[in-house]
Assembly symmetry: C2
Homo-oligomer: 685 residues x 2
């Protein structure tokens, strides 16, 4: 070891930033008292050569404003004032001074626990702002000049730490997330559920999605990361646990579409001696408890157009919402079958805030119109009616026309180039023949004028838009949406963002039930989950443990499996699928029958589930469960469309963590430990 | 698809076990009322041809006893009686009958929340046993005849589900575990900490232990599973989060010694604007809150010699402990330096329940004795004095003698074949010359008779055992124990298990502080962590982010790094290290200096930490943190030595989950997706 001497500059810098006074405790904050507070220098306002103000920003704490003034040059107060001026904005600081004023929205402070009260760095309950006359200020590190912070700045993903520091909506969502988790845990504990942690180092089983492998140092053996704790939780039911839950990290090595993450958190639960209906009622009670707390303790914040949720206890100087009506539609939630939602909304995760539904009208339309909109023979034709919110004194017609023109021009190719025909929109307009509905002929126009497009509100008005779409006349076969269902959602979102419909901040939950048990295997779709690897030509819609819905569906297993329905249920809110669950097959023989005889899995495939079959055989009680996408839940409840906004360090669409730059390059030496090598011999990095 | 008909037997079995009545709600349980209860048939007692009793076992619920009797043959009661007799023990059942008696330890039932009260399957608060006159019973599956259940049966690891079902201590520990976690979360929330989930798909960094790799489908790139969320949590400090915590799953691909798991859970926390002392005080407040709850709501159960902890609310018919003295020694906990604990106890995780310490005596001993016990030149010789608990009317001598003879014969090789000399025990015996201490010579014997072996209790008594051990006279250099320290612990545990010392159920916490910052790299120890890969001949004792303790230690970095002490602290209870933490280096230049100049890491090595250096540079505040081994904490608090007893599905010493049989074999095809192949071309499986 070469003897060296540590540089003086480095040593001095360390000493300068290393020692700092302890912060005051909650009980110390009284007007006139000397206190110490730690935080970030957030804003300076230099009023004159002798007077300056600044804000100290404290995470999860009150706003602090400091005042520094002096009379005598070279006085301690002058030096403090100079120090304040010299410290770069956003630097961490320790400030000491006299409390000038406490701003509290809680005239009778509630009693906090002794532990909380006496911990240094805590603040009195209800105090949302503290004014301090500055005595001294010490920087604890320096914020560098080359990082530019401005209002609403977007930092590159590599600087996630800066984004969290300087974006209020992001930081607040990260703060609200654990509060939602804590409330869910509280409710589950009250219901005598037990939280059980299950392994993340699992093994590969032919269940559904593609798994990540984790090689071991034992040649030829690997763990796999779990898609869900499904098999472990079923074994816990066989272990006699009455109610299990877990905030479980899950993994899918899939091509990331839309807003998916390779690792995600689900609130996973399972109940023994329970049916699907029991689980739905339990989940409803969790949502009800959560909604009650969110409605009473959190408020909706509109920050420069970005809407989010914040605890009422923080920054209460912000404008309060008026009224106390619940934003949450409370249970019991509607239970609609897959068949019903596909028919009424054209999507298996409908947004019940959308004020218009699909209606089938092909029996009312002339052949001429149908052949104009599709090449299909004897198609189903559906319509929905969109009506923009009235603006007093203005005709809605020009607005509707411009809106629809724009929308139709920017349709995604799947809709505009749909081989079953593109959508067709007609706008009701009294100044035109048949009020603009002449393509429908007299009978068609009359039928639509008298309620065929919307039986709830039968009459048409000028500016109403009727959107028609054809589709083949055949069963839905497990599809997740129709073209018109997709367009309906698109149109609603566009209308809200353009102000043609009010922004609806309520949460409208529903259950979608009675899904098909199996879905045909689409061999051309290489992007799909590998499924169960069976040879039946179809695979389980959800997973092979799902129970058939009724005795009739048990019969259909063997005779017409694609018609068999599952005791599966999805929880949906505002067009977002929050999670799904099912009753499970708890009889070992039935489980093996489904795997072998129905799904046509190989012996080796079935063998991978030996542990589960053995657990079911050991007197396993009936059971059912649910998995709630927790990232998604938090995103929806805090009014963002992306789970990336509720995850501290999310992955990109390519599965990269751009902050720490993972995944990273591996060497042949590292792989060698696992008896593995690069195909072709070399890394391409 | 081949058309088949589902077998009649399977169909009927499914129908028989599939439909069952809803269980009653808490409010339904009143004497004389008809109720339905679900559970496992746990015990049958056939009293006569017309009378039978049985227990229904309900996880996390009251004991239920059912009575089935009949008068008339062929009556419904007769058929129910026959059904009960026919159902195999341990089968899941639904029973319906009239409440005969409610046994409650809560004469004034507390109000439960409406949600809890009204959920089917809940029971009234305080009711620990319910007697029911049986009306009907339905099996919901059958427990197979070939699984033999007997008292205290140990099932093979492949049948973990049976072990959880039939071992009360195991099931109770799994139940207590989340209650401990919940209490910790509650305390942390009260202290304004924010729970943040950090990625499990991380990357390989040269930090310490060997990591598991997770290959990606992008050639040459892999994730690594984190040893701890260390770097993410430090980035959160730079993000302005004041207090972070997480129950984090962590991973180490190491050879599993003793009682370690390749995946484990730690309660990870970090505080900004904080010193190590602030963190220790915060952790103490968490432990204090937890101890208060454990002491008031949980009781110690001795079940056939296996001691565990159970909630008082369950099975309250069990004998209560007498007295209410706390089992937990409350904070502030002693803070002892590494140097002190190594000197006094010969181990860096001392068990403060052990009633004897080490004392250095080589200056009191004759050369003849020293050369008898060691070949070392000028060694340090230490002694401890063990005194068995007195048994009235018996001489302790024969007991001590037999105990020490037995212990010395069964010493592990590291102690009995220690190249520095084996331990030597002398037993005080008034019937021998110099009371059995003649090898020490007159002066040596006198010195030990007057307190050299134990200044706290100077006089020696017959049956006292003095154990001597030599060691080289040199600094501890980061060692975790000395030979005599190890022997002291072994002897204490043996004495307790043989009844020579009382079993001590208290928890005695302490902090061990002032660890050396660096530890010499032992190049011959291939089993060790890879460390930081630097070329300095030593590596960070804990990790390269640990701050030096004082300004003097900063100076030592460059001049005599192995003497530099760290601001690191370990929390120890009863000889078990629960966790450790440190103040971190928060100044980017100092962090880079330690990595480059002191540890002599390569550019590439330092480059792996670019994200962390960048975060520190962005005005990161001072911060310090802690990681608590949560599995270990639960094991200690529930009186078991193995973390396997508090993990639902633990891994074996070989890293195998013997229940699901993971890791599993991988195919060349699976590896090919990741552009990888087996070295040598083939799997050995």
């Amino acid at each position: 070891f070469k003897q060296k001497v540590i540089g003086r500059q480095l040593r001095e810098e360390w000493a300068r930033y290393n020692d700092f006074p302890k912060p005051s405790r909650a009980g110390d904050f009284k007007e006139g008292q000397l206190v110490t507070v730690h935080g970030f220098l957030a804003r300076k306002r230099i009023k004159s050569s002798k007077l300056a103000f600044a804000d100290i920003q404290i995470d999860n704490g009150p706003a602090v404003q400091i005042t520094s003034s002096f009379q005598e040059p070279e006085s301690p107060a002058h030096k403090t004032n100079q120090a304040l001026r010299g410290i770069p904005l956003y630097s961490p600081v320790s400030v000491t001074g006299t409390v000038a004023r406490l701003h509290s929205n809680n005239p009778q402070p509630t009693e906090t626990s002794p532990t909380t009260r006496s911990r240094p760095g805590n603040f009195p309950t209800g105090v949302f702002r503290i004014d301090i006359d500055l005595t001294s200020i010490q920087p604890l590190n320096l914020f560098p000049k080359d990082i530019i912070v401005s209002k609403g700045v977007q930092f590159p993903p590599s600087s996630r730490h800066l984004q969290i520091r300087f974006s209020d909506p992001l930081r607040t969502r990260l703060l609200v997330r654990p509060q939602i988790a804590f409330q869910l845990r509280k409710s589950l504990n009250d219901l005598a559920f037990t939280e059980v942690e299950t392994p993340i180092l699992f093994k590969s089983t032919p269940e559904g999605a593609r798994e990540f492998l984790v090689p071991t140092r034992r040649p030829g053996l690997a763990y796999a990361l779990p898609q869900s704790p499904q098999q472990y939780k079923q074994m816990l039911m066989a272990s006699g646990i009455r109610g299990y839950y877990q905030f479980a990290r899950c993994f899918r090595d899939e091509d990331l579409r839309a807003d998916r993450q390779p690792e995600f958190t689900q609130l996973d639960l399972e109940m023994s001696f329970a049916t699907g209906e029991d689980v739905m009622q339990t989940v409803e009670s969790l949502v009800a408890d959560l909604a009650t707390v969110l409605n009473s303790d959190f408020r909706v914040v509109d920050q420069d157009g970005e809407i989010h949720l914040a605890p009422k206890s923080l920054n209460s100087a912000h404008s309060e919402e008026s009224g106390t009506a619940s934003r949450y539609v409370m249970p019991p939630f509607p239970r609609l079958s897959y068949e019903t939602v596909m028919t009424r909304f054209g999507i298996d995760k409908p947004d019940l805030r959308i004020p218009f539904e699909l209606n089938r009208v092909d029996h009312l339309l002339p052949e001429s119109f149908i052949s104009m909109i599709t090449h299909l023979d004897k198609p189903i034709v559906e319509v929905f009616r969109f009506r923009p919110s009235p603006v007093s004194g203005e005709s809605p017609l020009p607005t509707s026309t411009a809106f629809i023109d724009d929308l139709m021009k920017t349709l995604p190719p799947a809709l505009s180039q749909n081989p079953d025909g593109a959508p067709v929109a007609l706008i009701v307009n009294s100044s035109k023949p048949l009020r603009g509905l002449s393509p429908l002929g007299f009978d068609g126009a009359s039928a639509l004028e008298s309620g065929a497009a919307d039986p709830e509100s039968p009459t048409l008005e000028d500016g109403d838009v009727l959107v028609f779409q054809a589709r083949p006349n055949k069963p839905f076969q497990g599809a997740s949406s129709t073209a018109l269902g997709t367009l309906r959602t698109l149109l609603y979102q566009a209308a809200v963002s353009k102000g043609l419909l009010p922004r609806d901040l309520t949460f409208q939950f529903l259950w979608v039930t009675n899904f098909p048990l199996f879905t045909p295997t689409n061999e051309t779709d290489t992007d799909t989950d590998p499924g169960q690897g069976g040879h039946a030509g179809f695979s389980s819609t959800h997973h092979p443990f799902t129970a058939p819905l009724t005795d009739a569906d048990v019969e259909l297993l063997a005779t017409d499996p694609l018609r068999a329905r599952a005791d599966h249920y999805d929880l949906v809110v505002n067009g977002v699928e929050l999670g799904g669950g099912s009753r499970r097959i708890h009889v070992a023989k039935m489980q093996e029958y489904v795997m072998r005889e129905i799904l046509q899995m190989t012996d080796a495939g079935v063998g991978q589930f030996a542990h589960l079959l053995e657990a079911l055989r050991a007197g396993c009680p009936p059971h059912a469960g649910f998995a709630l996408g927790f990232d998604r839940l938090v995103a929806v409840l805090t009014y963002t469309e992306s789970v990336r906004d509720v995850i501290a360090f999310p992955k990109s669409m390519k599965g990269e963590d751009l902050t720490v730059r993972s995944p990273g390059g591996v060497t042949e030496e590292q792989l060698g430990v696992y008896h593995l090598g690069f195909l072709g011999g070399k890394s391409k990095e």
